[in-house]
Symmetry: C2
Amino acid sequence: MESTLKIYNTLSRTTEDFKPIHEGHIGMYVCGPTVYSNAHLGNARTFISFDVIFRYFLHLGYKVRYVRNITDAGHLESDADEGEDKIAKKAKLEQLEPMEIVQRYTIDFRETMRMFNTLPPSIEPTATGHIIEQIEMTKQIIENGYAYEVNGSIYFDVEKFTKEYNYTILSNRNLDDLLNNTRDLDGQGDKRGRLDFALWIKAKSEHIMKWPSPWGVGFPGWHLECSAMSSKYLGNEFDIHGGGMDLVPTHHTNEIAQNLACHKTQPARYWIHTNMLTVNGQKMSKSLGNSFLPNELFSGNHKLLDKGYSPMTVRFFMLQAHYRSTLDFSNEALQAAEKGFTRLMNAMKLMNGLKVSTNSSVNIDAVKTEIYNALNDDFNTPIAIASIFEAVRMINSINDGKETITETDKASLKKLMTEIVFDVLGLQEENNTDTSKIDGLMNMIIDQRNHAKLNKDFATSDAIRNKLKDIGFEIKDGKDGTSYSVIN
Amino acid sequence: MESTLKIYNTLSRTTEDFKPIHEGHIGMYVCGPTVYSNAHLGNARTFISFDVIFRYFLHLGYKVRYVRNITDAGHLESDADEGEDKIAKKAKLEQLEPMEIVQRYTIDFRETMRMFNTLPPSIEPTATGHIIEQIEMTKQIIENGYAYEVNGSIYFDVEKFTKEYNYTILSNRNLDDLLNNTRDLDGQGDKRGRLDFALWIKAKSEHIMKWPSPWGVGFPGWHLECSAMSSKYLGNEFDIHGGGMDLVPTHHTNEIAQNLACHKTQPARYWIHTNMLTVNGQKMSKSLGNSFLPNELFSGNHKLLDKGYSPMTVRFFMLQAHYRSTLDFSNEALQAAEKGFTRLMNAMKLMNGLKVSTNSSVNIDAVKTEIYNALNDDFNTPIAIASIFEAVRMINSINDGKETITETDKASLKKLMTEIVFDVLGLQEENNTDTSKIDGLMNMIIDQRNHAKLNKDFATSDAIRNKLKDIGFEIKDGKDGTSYSVIN
């Protein structure tokens, strides 16, 4: 391929050439789920997007350390350090130990990711597993003068920080506006400044998830875990940090501030953010009643869905939009994706059996260049998929005898398509081959029976019906022909 | 059912009536895997045994909190606190961060457990996730006078402990023999007594997995994590503690000592231990070359195996031995288990379609009583399975018209078999139904083609062959008849 990889960097708001810190190696950190409820589709989109990014790096030959955390403590209901811990609240509601909630929804999350065929990250650290690291980081930030203690809680001093660093470097918001809009200090307790945020929170006596610290018993602030875990596993400066774009103004902004205040380094060179989901053009949200869970999407069990869509159809559908664009769910778009995915998988099967000729009338190299150009252009999967469908058209035309391919070109085509479709995009054949095979065999048998009936050979047609029943199929003659169902 | 549940308690070396501490609730802790290599079959047996115990408690209506840990730090090569940390050593060999090793083998372990259809535990805590709790426990043990510091490491003082408590209560070994046999203090570094063991180990500078503590930078001793995590999630006294019987003399003995020294309580009322695996009568061990991994057993890819066995065949095979007996792997025994499992699954399918009569010639209640008596007798699955096969014989006889069953009895039989076979024993239909259906349909089509060939109707026989090829089947005429293979 000729083009080099370019990545849109939220930090610079430009598309930059990608250069890893250590040649051949990539360190990537992605903010993972807070495990207090079922995995939702917005999260799934983010992690599928980063899965393709991870897979593409691996395909390019990089050694990648991909860290995606599990938030199992410290994430309060409000980003302003208010409300209850999300997991502790759910635990109280369900009368379970918080770690039982964590286990239940971590399992659900992993199962959802498995269905979407995402590769597991290299390390999956938890917030509760890194309390000591968070305490150590808090101690260092205090020592460096960017945090203060009030009543057993530690807050990050944003005003102090802004004197030396650009607090809104990632969000590009106007700091004065932020400060002026939020001057009201009502109800924010012990904080000196409205933008200050907690590094460590003193636990009330009824709080369950708490640990001893130099400042008394408490728990870490939500933003701290990612700073502590990314520097532990990837070093103080690493290549890529990612997450959903909703994390930019608070979580990632505060993460950068913490890292600068502690290590005096910007943690990541490239910040990558995925966009939001919409449903029929409206923002997907629980309160609007238009949000569905992955399982509802698979089963079709939701009032807005005409039918269910397989995990691979949904994955394919998601990759048809660029990760930085919004992705709109509609029945029409999902049905189109289902057809497209089936067409692609059929071509992948046809490809193996293509007859070879002495000449090629198709240009494999041109398609290959198009695909790599698209992926190198900030992982532009929709453009790459458009080029993949150019290859699908070639395969179908060669199969129909309208185009020809040499043995060498066929080998290149197979390598290209297998690597891009299966390895990089992470699509896979779904386990419905047996169903389609059974369909094919049943059609042959039903034809034979219809033939017997036409010839008034009812002994044969009844014998076929009975044999099918023995094997576990029931056939039904209707006005639209004969259908069958599986009876055991 | 009339009998009450009895459990063999390693602590008392007798079979005792089971009485939970809090009526209706059970707290159970099982020592989980050290994740530095692929899940091995001995571990799988232990966790399948406890899975049946967990499932039986749930079936009896208990609310169970089942905690099974993941050891991801602190487990040294030798139980005598010597050698390297197993995970750090593997990480060094493979040039990976230790947590990448942990992630790889934790995923392998979970996948193996999933294939064996074990339920996930309620909480799956990690050693690295509970360093603070282990430090706190060490502080308390020092404060209570049962541990001492030497050069930044903390050791448990077994001699002091034995003055007040019975150190060998679980193993029933003779303490004087232990002390006399191990008087040689060579090479045991800072320990005062040969039986002393580490609670906290000072980290050498090259050690990767280490944390700050009141005694300097180090890492916890292996036995401590289970004491810290069981008391955190189940309280200082809980119902059941389990593991492989190899853990009795050191790990569990030291766990009890730590809990008594810290909380002055025996942690668990009932200690349950599973027995070892043998292969053709010999102890299964890596050094003898006769140990196979679960995946090798599934694929048959091992010199000692004639063929592969499905996860459910292996599970069924394991449950045919009592958890306290050794379990011997041999090709003959596995093949017999495969036949038995198939016979059982066939009966489960036949059961639904049994014709009902006005009288029953079979006694469902008698079988039910037998099954529950077996399970209540220290979870005696082999006896329970023998009674289940009594029910299988009934089902087959009723199906053959040799016995009769009323509608009410049929409902009882279905409830009993579904609950015991699927819910309690955790067996499940394997996904080979489609294969048998395809076999059935192919046989019908091959018969039709043979019929055409016999009649010299080669147009029809060729048309059938071609149609099958389109659907993805190739047929081959051999001397033993016609066979088929799937071509895509």
